[in-house]
Symmetry: none
Subunit: 334 residues, 2 copies
Amino acid sequence: MKKTLYIFTSGELKRKDNSLYFESEAGRKYIPVEDTNDIYIFGEVDVTKRFLEFAAAKEICIHYFNHYGYYTGTFYPREHYNAGHVILKQAEHYIDKEKRLELARIFIAGSIAQMRQVLKYYQTRAKNGKEEITALIEKFKERTSELSEGHTVEELMAVEGHAREDYYKMFDYIINDPDFRFEKRSKRPPLNRLNAMISFGNSLCYTMVLSEIYKTYLDPRIGYLHATNFRRFSLNLDVAEIFKPIMVDRLIFMLINKKMIGKKDFDKQMNGILLTESGRKKFVAELDKRMQTTVNHRHLGKSVSYRRLIRLELYKIQKHILGEKTYEPYRSMW
Amino acid sequence: MKKTLYIFTSGELKRKDNSLYFESEAGRKYIPVEDTNDIYIFGEVDVTKRFLEFAAAKEICIHYFNHYGYYTGTFYPREHYNAGHVILKQAEHYIDKEKRLELARIFIAGSIAQMRQVLKYYQTRAKNGKEEITALIEKFKERTSELSEGHTVEELMAVEGHAREDYYKMFDYIINDPDFRFEKRSKRPPLNRLNAMISFGNSLCYTMVLSEIYKTYLDPRIGYLHATNFRRFSLNLDVAEIFKPIMVDRLIFMLINKKMIGKKDFDKQMNGILLTESGRKKFVAELDKRMQTTVNHRHLGKSVSYRRLIRLELYKIQKHILGEKTYEPYRSMW
């Protein structure tokens, strides 16, 4: 499994013949091109065109985050797969209202099921609110049936929005730490520590899915839930819905409950609260560990890493689109 | 309408406060950020992260092309105009049989008209076969009316195939050189010198159109004539039909008739005949000259280069697909 490279220091990404390296005050560090899946840039890193060319040839995506840890953009190399038929089918599933609705319904059902799974894990472990969590687990069953009644993507998105709102309310029970109150979901900027972690984690999740999409025949521009406006990639946002609860939310609970991240890892910035560089480093290190963790895969009957799980999910979506097999989203077992 | 910036020289893209500039040997050139939609980089251009951040904030995409002019990748800001709607429309015109047929008909009519135009140019100039050429010019009128009777893309392709066969037969009259007989169209490998030149020229034409497609919102994977096989880009093949007669065939006639390329520029290779390296160099140099040549543009009322002509053609196709204006293929005047 190829690795992800995270760069927090400042320097320059360069190329010499057929090798890539990062040059900083600490010296020259070579990048194992054949073993690198993607690069996350957090530091002040300049890049030469020759670097980008070789990275593109090696199919490496480069994701940029600004000084505050906000995602700014991605260098997406030219498609290496040239599957006109997949893109046609992908477009057809967007243009055809029924087909789009079916996919939107599956994504949202998958997302709610994953949130429910997180709640089930904490149902007995949470210090408070066991009753509330249990009640919400029950309620989520109904939410799923509401989905079959939704006749537009907007109606479905509303169901998802309500479910997520209820779900976030449980965070205070699960975390139970006065330093990390949920209050309400706030973005750009997040207004408290917990929201800062959610925003940062979600943006990492979106780019990880984007990196994996690049490795398939799918086109990130055509999504089904999030495609109402064409101002950003959208398929990665759809697929991230399935993975945010297990990849991001559970990681946040772990980081806080094990006191791995605390008050000192946050800063007041731009009228909001953001993770400091050291906070981001800890977050990324633990997320990376988690991405490499293997979980038992029900159908494959073997262990696969989380990163691999994302790729498998994309293959399932591809099969759905090609009419080979109806997409069933991944559901974690614990 | 925001503008596109093309950078051919080498240098560095930098930021100072809220302005972006390009620094090269020639000095510092400021980029009007509010007025720039995207930047195309052809030179050896390095970029600072602070530049990318501000470009991202202004939703400016940055497209990279390598030393040979091939597209390598794009920096997509978090929010950008990703033209998902163009690809959807492009797919719709493929999926909808009538829409696809209409476009296929236009491409083939355009291709036949261009072949006819080449014949007209040589009608008086050819040493032999004036009668045959004149007869074929007449026959091509009928071919165009046959197009309205074609009810499948395959039928239309057959009309085009017959027209092209007749057209190639005229090559011997136009060239009239025993070293360069057409015989019959042979590919992979070409079996004689003329076919070697046609194959080489056509492949250059396909990649030139592909390069230009990357400068538009169109997706090269979805074509209308050539999309039956999914192993290659196809929109460029469609558009090349319009340009092959003037860009490739007329160049070949010129190279042979002016004795710029001769027997010694060919080699027996892989059971066929191919241009030698020096032959290819001469061909490319002359093609490149031709691409930079400006021709009078009927509608624009000004001179544009052939390369620009291709781009304009793509914009017309984009307009057709977006339902703004029915596509009318370029027709050379001489």
